[in-house]
C-alpha cells in the first residue's frame, strides 16, 4: 500500500469551497429512503472518499469540472445549438427543432456527433496516412493545455489549476502552436483546396498572432504581472476591469480571437464556398467531427482568456444567500457565463458579416489591428505611469 495520506492531506487542505454541497448531501440526499442508504454506503468506502476529495481538490476541480473539461464538453454540445438557434432568429427562422421539439432541438449536436462516430472514415490514397490520422488528435493537446493556467476566480478566491509567474506567456506559446497542426492537417491531406486553405491559414496566423500578443502585452503592462492570479486580483471591481481600462486592447484581442478561430468575417482559411472547409476538406466521419469540435474548443479557450484578462474573470457582485451557499462555485459560474456571452457574440458574427478576402484580412491584421494594439500598449504605459 502506498501511503497517500500526505497527498490526501494536501488535497483536503485545498478543497474547493462549496458550502451548499454538504448540506445538500446530508440534508437531502441521505434522507431519501433507498438512494440515501446507497450514498451513505458509498461514502463509507475509503477509496470513494479519496476520489471525491480528489475531484474536489481545487486544481483538479477547476481543470475537470468548471471551467475545465466538463464545462467545455457541455459547451460543445450547447454552443452549436445556441449558435444555430440565435443565428436562426437573426435569419427569421427557428433553427434545429424537429428533433425533440420539447427541448427545442437541443440534442441536435448529440445526433450529429453520434452519426459522425458511426460513419466511415475515408483516407484517400493520395493522403499521408499517418499524419492525416494523427494530426486531428494531436491538435487536441495544445488546444486544451491553456486551460491549465486559467484563473476563474476572483480576488481572494483563486481558482487556477497551475499558478505560474509566466502563465500568460505560456498560454500564448501554447495557442501559437495550434496553427502548426492545422498546417500539418492541410499538408497531409494532399488536396488543392486543403493546400490553399493551409497557405491562407499560415498567412492569417502571422496576421492575428502579433496583434494578439500585443493585446496581451498591453494588459501585462497594465497589470504589471503575467501571473493569472495577479491579473485577476488587479481587476478589483467592474470599473477597473481590463475592458474599461484599456478597451482598445480588448477590441484588438477580440478581433484577433475571431481571426484565430477563423470565424466570420475572417473565415478565410476554411471559406466554405471558396475552399470547402480548406484544410479539413478530406476529413470524414469522426475525424471531421473532431475538426469541427476543435474550432469550438479553441474559441472557448480564447474566450476564457478574454474573460480573465478583460472581464475580471469570476468577479462580480455577491448575491445574498446565493453567494455564500455556492462559495467558489458562484465565481466559477460567473466566469462561465461571461465566457459564454463572449462566445455567443463571436459565433453570431456569422449572421452579421460576410467574409473578408485574404489580402483584406491580412491588411486588417497587419494594419488596423497592429496599430490598435500598439496604441493599446502605449495607453497601458500611460495608465501605468498615471496610476
Amino acid at each position: 500500500m502506498i501511503d497517500i495520506s500526505g497527498l490526501v492531506n494536501l488535497m483536503i487542505a485545498e478543497q474547493v469551497n462549496i458550502p451548499l454541497l454538504y448540506p445538500i448531501i446530508y440534508n437531502f440526499v441521505l434522507k431519501i429512503p433507498v438512494i440515501g442508504n446507497i450514498v451513505a454506503f458509498l461514502l463509507g468506502i475509503p477509496i470513494i472518499r479519496y476520489l471525491i476529495a480528489f475531484i474536489l481538490w481545487k486544481p483538479i476541480f477547476i481543470l475537470l469540472i468548471i471551467p475545465g473539461f466538463g464545462t467545455l464538453g457541455t459547451m460543445l454540445l450547447v454552443l452549436p445549438w445556441l449558435e444555430r438557434k440565435l443565428v436562426g432568429r437573426m435569419q427569421w427562422r427557428v433553427g434545429p427543432r424537429e428533433i425533440a421539439p420539447r427541448t427545442r432541438g437541443s440534442i441536435q449536436l448529440l445526433a450529429d456527433s453520434l452519426r459522425f462516430l458511426c460513419q466511415e472514415v475515408i483516407i484517400h490514397k493520395e493522403a499521408h496516412k499517418p499524419y492525416f490520422l494523427q494530426f486531428p488528435f494531436l491538435y487536441f493537446l495544445p488546444v486544451l493545455l491553456p486551460l491549465l493556467f486559467i484563473n476563474a476566480g476572483t480576488i481572494g478566491r483563486t481558482l487556477v489549476p497551475i499558478e505560474s509567474e509566466y502563465a500568460l506567456q505560456l498560454m500564448i506559446a501554447l495557442i501559437s502552436l495550434m496553427p502548426v497542426f492545422i498546417l500539418g492537417v492541410g499538408w497531409s491531406s494532399n488536396n488543392r483546396f486543403a493546400f490553399i486553405g493551409t497557405v491562407r491559414e499560415a498567412f492569417m496566423y502571422f496576421a492575428y498572432e502579433i496583434p494578439f500578443i500585443i493585446a496581451i502585452l498591453a494588459m501585462v503592462i497594465l497589470y504589471g504581472t503575467s501571473n493569472t492570479v495577479g491579473v485577476v486580483s488587479a481587476q478589483t471591481s467592474w470599473w477597473n476591469w481590463g475592458i474599461i481600462l484599456n478597451p482598445l486592447a480588448a477590441l484588438t484581442f477580440f478581433v484577433a480571437a475571431v481571426m484565430a478561430t477563423a470565424r466570420l468575417p475572417f473565415e478565410i482559411p476554411e471559406a466554405d464556398q471558396e475552399l470547402a472547409f480548406g484544410p479539413f476538406i478530406e476529413y470524414s466521419g469522426i475525424a471531421f467531427g473532431l475538426a469541427y469540435v476543435m474550432a469550438y474548443e479553441k474559441m472557448y479557450v480564447l474566450s476564457a482568456i478574454m474573460t480573465m484578462l478583460f472581464l475580471g474573470a469570476g468577479s462580480g457582485p455577491a448575491i445574498p444567500y446565493v453567494t455564500p451557499l455556492l462559495g467558489d462555485l458562484y465565481y466559477a459560474i460567473l466566469f462561465v457565463i461571461k465566457t459564454l456571452i463572449i462566445l455567443l457574440v463571436m459565433v453570431n458574427l456569422r449572421g452579421v458579416y460576410p467574409r473578408y478576402r485574404l489580402d483584406q484580412g491580412l491588411r486588417i491584421g497587419w494594419g488596423a489591428m497592429l496599430t490598435l494594439g500598439l496604441i493599446a500598449v502605449a495607453w497601458s504605459i500611460v495608465l501605468g505611469v498615471v496610476l
Binding site: M90, N348, V352
Partner: protein
C-alpha cells in the same frame, strides 16, 4: 436614366454601417420577423388554383386524347377502357404540373387538387393508372395547423389556424364549347371508315349497300361529343368541327 454609383466609405461610414448591421442583427434576435412554417406539423394553405395532383372523372371524359396530345412531357398515355374508350393514365415521373391537360379537357373530366407533397420508393409506383385517379388519394398528413400568408401594406405575416386544410378543391368543371363534326367535301370521301373506327361515341356510322354499290355515311349530331378525333384522322381531311 438613373445612375447608380458605388459608395466610398470613410472611417465614420464604416463605423456607422458596422453598427447598423450589428444592431439589425441584434434587433432580429430580440424581435424576429420570423416567417417559418414547420412543415410536417403545419402546412401552408395554397390557393385553390394550386396545380397539384390530378383527379379524373370518367363520367365527363369524352376520350378525345387532347390531354395526351397537349402534355409537353408526354406523361399522359391513354389506356383502353370499356366501351371503346381510352382513359388517361398519368406518370408522375414525368408530369410537370403545367395543367395544360386540365385546361384542355373539353368536358372537365380532369380536376386539379392541392396534393403535392409525395415521395415514391420506386419509379414504377409513379405511374398512376386510370382506376387510381378517380377517387382522391390518401396522403400522410402530420399537420394539425394550417398557415396562411397574410400580406398587408405593412408586412408579410403568418396566420395560423387549427385544423386541416382540405386538399380537394371543388371547382366547377368547364363546360367547354359544344362542337360537332361535319363533312365539308362529301364527294371526296372514300368511305374508308377511319372516322367510324376512331369514334368512341358511335356517332359515325356507315352502312354498306352491296347492291347499289354505295356506302351510306352518317354523323349523328346528337351522339357526337365533338372530340375531333375523326377530323384529325380523316385520311382525306374533309371533316371539320363546327359549333353545335
Amino acid at each position: 436614366m438613373k445612375k447608380v454609383g458605388t459608395p466610398e466609405y470613410n472611417l465614420q461610414d464604416k463605423l456607422k454601417y458596422h453598427l447598423s448591421a450589428l444592431s439589425t442583427a441584434a434587433k432580429q434576435v430580440a424581435l424576429p420577423l420570423n416567417i417559418t412554417t414547420h412543415y410536417p406539423r403545419e402546412r401552408r394553405r395554397w390557393p385553390d388554383c394550386f396545380r397539384g395532383y390530378i383527379l379524373f372523372d370518367p363520367e365527363r371524359c369524352i376520350s378525345c386524347f387532347q390531354c395526351s396530345f397537349i402534355c409537353p412531357a408526354n406523361a399522359i398515355w391513354m389506356k383502353e377502357a370499356p366501351s371503346n374508350r381510352y382513359y388517361p393514365t398519368l406518370d408522375y415521373g414525368k408530369c410537370i404540373f403545367c395543367h395544360f391537360c386540365v385546361d384542355s379537357c373539353p368536358g372537365g373530366a380532369l380536376k386539379p387538387t392541392k396534393i403535392h407533397d409525395v415521395a415514391y420508393r420506386t419509379m414504377e409506383e409513379m405511374l398512376t393508372l386510370t382506376e387510381e385517379m378517380v377517387e382522391p388519394p390518401e396522403i400522410i398528413r402530420e399537420d394539425k395547423v394550417f398557415v396562411d400568408y397574410v400580406i398587408d401594406t405593412e408586412d408579410l405575416s403568418l396566420k395560423r389556424t387549427k385544423g386541416r386544410d382540405n386538399l380537394i378543391v371543388e371547382i366547377a368543371p368547364s363546360q367547354g364549347v359544344p362542337m360537332v363534326s361535319q363533312c365539308v367535301d362529301r364527294a371526296s370521301c372514300i368511305a374508308c371508315k377511319v372516322c367510324e373506327k376512331v369514334c368512341e361515341s358511335g356517332a359515325v356510322s356507315s352502312i354498306k349497300d352491296e347492291e347499289r354499290l354505295i356506302v351510306k355515311m352518317a354523323i349523328d349530331a346528337e351522339k357526337c361529343t365533338g372530340c375531333g378525333l375523326c377530323v384529325k384522322e380523316c385520311s382525306m381531311q374533309i371533316l371539320r368541327l363546327v359549333r353545335k
